[in-house]
Symmetry: C2
Amino acid sequence: MTSTDDANKAPAKDPWAFPDVSDLVVGVLGGTGDQGRGLAYRLARAGQKVIVGSRAADRAQAAAAELGEGVEGAGNAECARRSDVVIVAVPWDGHAKTLESLRDELEGKLVIDCVNPLGFDKKGAYAIRPEEGSAAEQAAALLPGSRVTAAFHHLSAVLLKDPDIDEIDTDVMVLGENRADTDLVQALAARIPGMRGVFAGRLRNAHQVESLVANLISVNRRYKAHAGLRVTDV
Amino acid sequence: MTSTDDANKAPAKDPWAFPDVSDLVVGVLGGTGDQGRGLAYRLARAGQKVIVGSRAADRAQAAAAELGEGVEGAGNAECARRSDVVIVAVPWDGHAKTLESLRDELEGKLVIDCVNPLGFDKKGAYAIRPEEGSAAEQAAALLPGSRVTAAFHHLSAVLLKDPDIDEIDTDVMVLGENRADTDLVQALAARIPGMRGVFAGRLRNAHQVESLVANLISVNRRYKAHAGLRVTDV
């Protein structure tokens, strides 16, 4: 690169300059599961408007009532339709089927996949490799009209749900194809006290982030911990 | 589990009680590459006896002379033969071939694989999935007489090699099948100021740890950093 190129280059964008996301409505598909409830609770507690979705609207409403913090419950389709940002926290088993059935409702929306495809046997947890490469890439393939990102994989549901815990000591690796989308997801993660959203690559590198949860499960067992991850020097 | 079972159960072993490793000789195969040199330098600086190995003994000796700290250089076979613990830091391209050729020398030794199988294109780094599942599982398959572990994947060669840096702010995820072996690798990691060795599962979960380096490369590019990882709540 010559010095002329340098001079003509736009200054690098501040990687910590995020959009204001405080007015966005966040839907959580699978919002009655452990991870979904925990995320819904933390985001709502941070001031975000949150709607938890479930296949059965009444179960979603019951979960929402328990969570408090202004959380609403709805069937998955209504949850997706009313939300600006939709977190996918359904079990891996139902991942493809759920997303396929919501393709229209998720059109144009920012989708955050936080599903970890894992199997379990006597030796503990192990990674499952989806045909598409990762849960996030499966979502992107099934939802061509949505803006698919991946984040919130490494959070402990136990810590998220504990009302006595004020700060969650972890970073959130955020993956996606478009800077505007990943910036927005990072901004959302940063609303939860203790968390930072850290950009960590494109969706083609989502598999290892998703399946690292198998390792964190081993960590938790060995150290009787609720492990998270911090990215250092960032 | 009944209370009788509980009473008969041995108390859980302290996960931070490690063996003394200060007398072990550490070999570094691929010790003339960036990662190998950096690790050799840090371990030697921490007081460990280190031998760097290379295909060409004279190149290994030249690298050792540059590193100082009592590091010796040798051909790969001699390096393996003289070491108690052998770190595999060769390029992924030469991984299988190098290990196959050293099967006899590595018999009975503790092997620490730190190789990250990655590809690179215009979009950056991406994970390569070895047929065996991971570089570490390939090593275990090729070295049935060795005790294969995996660790030291996420270290910045730039930080490792910088003599002005006293502490490396990162944890080292350690994987393996036997507690005695992973304890020893954790003890070795802990000798380097700033580092902790954290047990992070069996070798079947090594692929995501190895390929997470692709994500750290994205982090480094975005934040102009030399990123590492800390495991929280541990």
